[in-house]
Amino acid sequence: MKNEWPLWEIFIRGQHGLAHRHVGSLHAPDAEMAIKNARDVYTRRNEGVSIWVVEARHIAATAPGDKGPLFEPSESKVYRHPTFFDIPDDVGHM
């Protein structure tokens, strides 16, 4: 629709020390209203201490069809996981 407000992606930080997490999207005429709408839509149950909004068109994303070439090659490379080291008992949990 021509008159539709742009779509915004909403990121909320649940508590201090954690990263902002994508929680969903909404429509708003500008960034300021997007933050207000995000406050009203996504923090009603005390979910957040900080809100980021990004207009959806500014997010560049991988294409679902490229999943094979992008991600499958790493499946067969278990040696990239640091699981082959002997950890001295003294170290305890790492």
């Binding site: 909404l26 429509h27 005429p29 300021e32 209203m33 207000k36 709408n37 009203d40 839509v41 009603r44």
Partner: protein
């Protein structure tokens, strides 16, 4: 009238304003132009209900007749209500609803700033809690008023018509009677007229940004906060709001 009675009247005025406006705003639930505004308006209505519970809860305590906030909300008739006429007016279109919200929020934001310094601890505590909600309400409603006023030709025209319609109901917020004088003397609440300058400064700034013109006339509808004469709209609103409790007394779920 005794001091306790004046305090009761004052508390009913605060509680009834919040209750009646909350009901009006809740009428948009499921009907707003877009989902985000629908949720935002429902949040506002819920904030106002929360404030109502505090004001009418304290009113019931002061009244000392064994009644609850619910009794005061659901079992009084139109002539017992002490809300200003502005809040009982029908919503009109979305723009008018938000403009009324802004005019109310602007007044509340000035009033709560004073009430947090009330000599009555309970009043001060209610105002302290409400003032955070009010600060958000006024920011949101002001933004929407500017967005619509300074928007398209049609939205501007609708907002100006809404302002012309609502403005004569603003004056009632600054009227004063024996109860107001008693509250001011006791240091519980300010004389309403002393809020006018701050209110006008805020409203003028936002309405100017919204490219809207404040009507010139000085006429003001009144009678709501004294209970002298409500509009015909209040009875209809109460019929909707109270019918369940009236039809099934004591009903809970």
């Amino acid at each position: 009238m005794t001091d306790q009675n004046h305090l009761l009247q004052f508390l009913l005025r605060q509680g009834d304003n919040a209750l009646i406006l909350s009901h009006r705003v809740s009428e948009w639930c499921g009907h707003s132009p877009i989902l985000e505004e629908d949720i935002a308006l429902a949040n506002t209505a819920l904030d106002l209900i929360g404030q109502t519970q505090m004001w009418l809860g304290y009113a019931a305590e002061v009244q000392a007749e064994g009644k609850s906030a619910d009794d005061l909300a659901f079992l009084r008739d139109a002539w017992d209500f002490r809300n200003i006429l502005l809040v009982e007016l029908p919503n009109g279109d979305f723009g008018r609803t938000l403009l009324r919200q802004f005019l109310f929020d602007a007044h509340q934001s000035v009033l709560m700033g004073r009430l947090i310094k009330s000599s009555d601890d309970t009043v001060a505590a209610i105002a302290a809690k409400a003032s955070k909600e009010v600060a958000y309400h006024v920011e949101r409603s002001a933004d929407t008023v500017v967005g619509l006023g300074d928007g398209t030709a049609e939205s501007h025209e609708r907002m100006q018509a809404a302002l012309d319609y609502l403005w004569p109901y603003v004056g009632e917020m600054f009227t004063s009677d024996d109860t107001d004088t008693a509250m001011a003397i006791a240091g519980i609440a300010p004389e309403p007229s002393t809020l006018r300058d701050e209110f006008h400064a805020l409203v003028t700034r936002v309405l100017t940004d919204a490219t809207l013109t404040i009507p010139g006339g000085r006429f003001s509808h009144k009678g709501g906060r004294t209970g002298e004469m409500h509009t015909e709209h209040l009875g209809h609103l109460l019929a909707t709001m109270q019918w369940l409790q009236r039809a099934y007394p004591g009903c809970e779920w």
